[in-house]
């Protein structure tokens, strides 16, 4: 079964698609929420403004929730990870999936008054064991470009520091997200995507 890469018009999906193809994954872009029935897993990518997620209508929400309930892994990337929360102060009128019961905030830059956006390679630390980061070295670097992020919660699987700690990744059962861009994070990023694909493959017998 193929993995659904949702195109909701936020930025360009070329890089994400390219990275998954490189890893040998079978990727398709669903045209309608019903197409997710055919998917082994769902990826919600995204760059840019949180308001772009408004095109993920209630029907999409329902289909994606249904996928999780049916045992299909879900991976949000960048704005796609922010969408896993209840929402973001960047576009308060746009509801997120609500899988994580808090909202994304604007990075403050901390007392050092660092520049926001946070752009570049930053290190990760891992507060808990997570399938996404199996075999990834502590202090591994990944590429970020964002101004908003989720707070550290029980779901947080990786923490990065930029004036303050924030959730660089979440993993709660099959619900996963990365604030950074694994498709632009060199070998470390590919290793993380490979871990996701491995998890998807391990679920397929369950899904039939």
């Amino acid at each position: 079964m193929a993995i659904a890469l949702i195109d909701y018009g936020a930025g360009n999906l070329t890089s994400v698609r390219k990275a998954f193809h490189h890893l040998g994954a079978d990727i398709f872009t669903p045209g309608a929420p019903g197409d997710l029935a055919e998917a082994a897993a769902v990826i919600v990518p995204g760059v840019g403004h949180f308001s772009a997620t408004r095109t993920l209508t209630a029907n999409w929400h329902a289909a994606i929730r249904g996928g999780i309930a049916a045992g299909k892994p879900l991976l949000g990337i960048c704005v796609g990870m922010q969408w896993l929360y209840e929402g973001s102060v960047e576009a308060p009128e746009c509801p997120g999936l609500g899988a994580i019961k808090t909202r994304c905030q604007r990075l403050s830059g901390g007392i050092e008054r660092l520049k926001v956006p946070h752009v570049g390679w930053n290190t990760l630390r891992f507060p808990k064991t997570a399938a996404l980061f199996a075999g990834v070295a502590p202090d591994a670097s990944v590429y970020f470009t964002h101004s908003f992020a989720g707070p550290v919660t029980a779901e947080t699987a990786a923490i990065a520091e930029y004036g303050e700690p924030f959730a660089a990744a979440v993993e709660d059962g099959l619900v996963m997200g990365v604030q950074f861009h694994p498709e632009k994070s060199g070998e470390t990023g590919l290793a993380i995507l490979r871990n996701f694909l491995r998890l998807v493959a391990s679920r397929e017998p369950v899904l039939g």
């Binding site: 360009n12 070329t14 840019g48 752009v119 570049g120 390679w121 632009k184 060199g186 990023g189």
Partner: protein, 251 residues
């Protein structure tokens, strides 16, 4: 901790890298994808492909160059040089560029910055500023440094940020090609004026020049081309040098 980025620039004409190439053991030294692969193995943080092709016809080959580099690289890739409108930008984004760099087109049509930022996100739009010292300020030049744009670099950087630019690529015309070091004063003046990353360019001749531009120059990233073409100035060597002097880098 956020690392200071080291960015390599490939000046490409007719599908070949044109700035002094002296890589040993590289079968096709001038081939952009081969050079990009080498830089990636050495730990480069990001790549810029600059199209220095003169004619429109030859520019079509650029998309193929971008495609061949993007195919096997999974680090940020910026493409600049000769992007005049949204169609040019779309062509390189389609080919695999994560960011586009606007220079002359941003000066003649500043709305293009906003248009591309709303289409691809600000993170995908770099405004490149070529400037040289002029009295107390820094005069901006268009068309590869040949035409005065009647703007000051600090003010133009602020305006570019307001219009949606995600990063500033600041090149010192005075220092470009001199190998006497970055213009740290100018870089610091621009970096202080904006809240987006500033990439310093022009003048790199030694590892200590990078130390200077990341400390007194307040640069968030530094770009260089020819310095990395010699074995004694490898990307990994530069990163070790910076790390030893307390500057955070990705290793």
């Amino acid at each position: 901790m956020l690392a200071k980025r080291i960015i390599a620039c490939l000046d490409v004409r007719d599908g070949q890298v044109v700035k002094g190439i002296n890589f040993e053991g590289l079968r096709s030294a001038g081939e952009p994808a081969a050079l990009a692969r080498r830089y990636n193995e050495e730990g480069i943080d990001e790549l810029v492909i600059l199209d220095v092709t003169a004619t429109l016809e030859k520019r079509r080959a650029m998309a193929n160059t971008v495609r061949s580099v993007a195919k096997e690289l999974f680090i940020p890739l910026c493409v600049g040089g000769g992007i005049r409108d949204a169609d040019d930008a779309a062509a390189v984004v389609e080919a695999g560029a994560d960011k586009v760099s606007l220079n002359t087109a941003a000066l003649t049509n500043p709305d293009l910055i906003t248009r591309l930022a709303s289409q691809y996100g600000s993170q995908a739009v770099i405004v490149a500023i070529d400037a040289k010292r002029a009295g107390d300020g820094y005069a901006v030049y268009a068309r590869s440094g040949t035409t005065a744009a009647s703007r000051d670099a600090v003010e133009w950087a602020r305006e570019a940020e307001d219009r949606g630019a995600g990063e500033i690529l600041l090149t010192s015309i005075d220092r470009d090609g001199t190998k006497i070091g970055f213009d740290c004063e100018m870089t610091a003046a621009v970096s202080r004026a904006v809240n987006i990353p500033v990439i310093a360019s022009g003048g790199a001749g030694s590892f200590d020049h990078f130390v200077d531009v990341f400390s007194e120059g307040r640069a968030d990233a530094a770009l260089a081309a020819s310095i990395f073409h010699y074995a004694e100035h490898s990307v990994s060597g530069l990163k070790r040098h910076l790390h030893d002097r307390g500057i955070p880098v990705r290793q």
